[in-house]
């Protein structure tokens, strides 16, 4: 292939596709160059993050001067190349490919989860026949076989593009999937003792161009055309994988990775993907609760509860040393900024802690910090004061801390927070702002419902300092507001001022003014892919395991 590179060392090559003159990088494949420039070439086996296979033959195009049709996924661009993707010869070839692919396809689109986002469906509109010419019965295969813990396999639908096989070989390097049999008897499968159980297994359902590999979590759950996709960021670890949140009737139905070459390419881990039930399960706090004189929780309008919370915080204005804050790494940058303003400037609290749940990292996507915004929360000025959670528990026990503001329930899930629950009863006032129920609420004086990542606008800063925007996908229950609104109103009550409505975009502007690392950041600049802030906590670059190689020709 090297001899086909242009002789001159220019940065780009110019070629013509269907009369459209485009520029491409030398060494780039024709298919990718066409897709980058908005020319649609149908393809199944090509995936930008996997090696080139060339098995589906769907992307054939006519290159001027070529002896026969070339597969554009494995055809490097050359200067002055003239390509035709729409001529009759190409169309005829694609029709032949489609007919052969559909010879044994069960055509059970009405019961197939892929329907609506299926390549086979899409291309059969352009290149398929309206009826079959074969009379032999269609081949039978295993259907809805659980090929792994989270993946369902339907052999009849498979078109043997081998994307999934290459995924397990190149991305996860676990080699669970492979092609068994030869010729007409080829099929995808696993070894009996090695099911598809790796941390990234559901990605094969995303890359499967047909409905052969499906996520068992989403299996027969909802038709994809009913889902509203909202671009967001996975909240489960500090990698900050970009996701699309699929919502139907105000409930998350699934999360799928969104391509971001700087963060997660097109992948995400199963743990993050399948962890969304907390946004709508029975542990959600949907009503503000205030303890009455008898010590029982009473349902209270949101505004009244905020006023009660402000009244409990007010004595701490004179005695800030007796006030403590447990911050949350699940808050957005903007909310953490408001919280930092409250606990650093308004009331210089004696104790501030930020409990971050830690787990195993795997060197690919899964990170050690199991929260989306620990880095951003620290950058906003939430700094550990007063010897962590152990110091806080001790201070509560001896009585130096009398009033506590808790965001979220993570404090009990970290090892340092073990003895915390026992001493919380000693507090004079405990204000808890949390989206999900936690044992802390047994001792709370005021319980204010919060919002999960799916219910607010804002930005997260991932472990490497990249600021990424999340958008509201779900509506909050009636009368409930996000933590940003809550904090800004509590602050207004403390000031006896009119509350400013919280707006994530303007607050991000204030962040840019006060935090030097964020000076260049605003909503428009963030775009869909996010932007690196000045923080470089973990600058080690990820080894790129998904390099597209051009060696698929062999």
């Amino acid at each position: 292939m090297s001899e086909e590179k242009p002789a001159t060392e220019e940065a780009t090559v110019r070629l013509t596709i269907d009369g459209l003159e485009i520029e491409a990088q030398p060494g780039q494949m024709l298919l990718q160059a066409a897709l980058d420039n908005g020319v649609e070439i149908p393809h199944y086996c090509y995936h930008p993050k996997l090696s080139i296979d060339g098995s589906c033959r769907m992307c054939q195009v006519k290159v001027e001067g070529g002896r026969k049709l070339a597969i554009s996924c494995n055809e490097p661009v050359r200067d002055g190349m003239v390509v035709d993707t729409k001529c009759d010869e190409v169309k005829h070839a694609r029709q032949g490919v489609m007919e052969l692919l559909l010879v044994n396809h069960p055509l059970d689109c009405p019961i197939c989860d892929q329907a609506g986002e299926c390549f086979l469906q899409d291309y059969s509109h352009g290149y398929g026949r309206d009826h079959a010419r074969t009379t032999a019965p269609r081949r039978k295969g295993v259907k809805r076989a659980p090929i792994g813990e989270h993946v369902v396999f339907d052999q009849e639908r498979c078109i043997l593009c081998r994307r999934c096989v290459r995924f397990t070989q190149e991305i996860t390097e676990t080699d669970e999937l492979r092609v068994f049999g030869i010729g007409d008897h080829s099929h995808i499968g696993t070894m009996p003792d090695a099911p598809l159980n790796n941390d990234y297994s559901v990605n094969v359902a995303d890359i499967c161009p047909v409905g052969a590999l499906l996520s068992s979590d989403f299996h027969h759950k909802r038709r994809v055309w009913f889902l509203e996709d909202t671009p967001s960021v996975c909240p489960s670890c500090s990698k900050g994988c970009n996701v699309n949140v699929g919502v139907f009737k105000n409930e998350i139905q699934r999360m799928v990775p969104r391509r971001n070459d700087d963060v997660n390419d097109t992948w995400m881990c199963d743990h993050g993907r399948l962890r969304y039930a907390f946004t709508s399960d029975e542990t959600r706090v949907r009503q503000a609760l205030v303890r009455n004189d008898a010590g029982d929780f009473t349902e209270t309008p949101f505004r009244i509860a905020l006023e009660a919370a402000a009244d409990l915080i007010r004595p701490s204005l004179e005695n800030p040393e007796a006030f403590a804050v447990i911050a949350s790494p699940h808050l957005t940058n903007e909310e953490s900024f408001l919280l930092a303003d409250l606990c650093n400037h308004k009331i210089p609290a004696g104790h501030v802690t930020l409990p971050v749940i830690r787990g195993d990292a795997d060197g690919f996507l899964i990170q050690e910090e199991k929260a989306a915004n620990a880095t951003g929360t620290r950058a906003m000025g939430i700094e550990e004061r007063g010897d962590g959670l152990r110091g806080l528990a001790e201070a509560i026990r001896v009585g130096t801390v009398k009033s506590l503001l808790v965001m979220g329930g993570d404090a009990l899930s970290v090892p340092e927070g073990e003895g915390l629950l026992d001493v919380l009863g000693d507090l004079e006032s405990l204000i808890l702002i949390t989206p999900n129920q936690t044992p802390i609420s047994e001792h709370a004086s005021v319980l204010i419902p919060g919002a999960t990542f799916a219910e607010k606008d804002g930005s997260f800063t991932n472990g490497e300092g990249r600021v990424q925007w999340i958008s509201r996908a779900l509506n909050l229950p009636e009368g409930v507001e996000t933590e940003g609104e809550t904090l800004s109103r509590i602050k207004a009550f403390l000031d006896n001022a009119k509350p400013e409505p919280f707006d994530a975009i303007t607050t991000l502007g204030k962040v840019a003014e006060s935090v030097p690392e964020y000076a260049h950041i605003n909503r428009a600049e963030l775009g869909a892919d996010g932007l690196l802030s000045g923080i470089q906590e973990a600058p080690e670059p990820e080894p790129e395991p998904t390099e597209v190689t051009a060696s698929g020709e062999a």
């Binding site: 009405p110 019961i111 299996h219 027969h220 909802r222 038709r223 055309w225 009913f226």
Partner: protein, 181 residues
């Protein structure tokens, strides 16, 4: 645009109706009278042959092109044909259909756990029937769907299931109508 003046000879209508409109009166009453006499003579003979039926107790057979409320076709084995593909839900212009898919161990692995039609919203357009790839939802000849409560207008799967024999004529009609093979 030039205006075209049309002169209407109103006299021709009054002439056609005869003096004092007697001709129109007679021709109008001829229909009523023939139905009345047909009913009367039929009643005396014991076999009425004409249009009037004792409505709530008796029904006229409706032509197959008639679009009454949509129903689910029940197969001989007592199960629905529907596979919960959701196309009718998507096609419905008034969003009156709600489906919750489920999984079974039958040959066809997917079935509707919940299939609700809000009949107070349904406008009998028949788009659900046209969208259905399984001939599982068809417009029946049922029209008596009024209820005293809002909840009564919500028809669930067991209410909607109708044996295939009852909708056979309609199924034949839509196959012809939509040119299905």
């Amino acid at each position: 645009m030039a205006t075209k003046v049309v002169t209407i000879d109103r006299d021709q209508y009054s002439k056609a109706a005869g003096p004092f409109g007697i001709k129109a009166f007679i021709s109008g009453f001829r229909v009523t009278t023939s139905h009345f006499l047909g009913n009367l003579i039929g009643w005396i003979r014991g076999k009425p042959t004409v249009a009037t039926v004792m409505f709530p107790e008796e029904h006229l057979a409706k032509p197959p092109a008639f679009r009454g409320m949509p129903v689910l076709v029940e197969m001989e084995n007592g199960k629905e044909r529907c596979v919960a593909c959701g196309l009718c839900e998507w096609a419905c212009p008034v969003n009156c259909i709600h489906i919750e898919p489920g999984e079974t161990t039958d040959e066809v692995e997917r079935y509707p756990q919940v299939f609700d039609i809000d009949m107070s919203r349904c406008m009998y357009c028949g788009l659900c029937e046209e969208a259905c790839p399984e001939e599982a939802i068809v417009m029946s000849d049922r029209v008596e769907i009024s209820a005293f409560t809002r909840a009564g207008t919500l028809w669930n799967k067991s209410d909607l299931l109708t044996p295939v024999a009852q909708v056979a004529r309609r199924l034949e009609h839509i196959r012809r109508d939509y040119d299905r093979r």
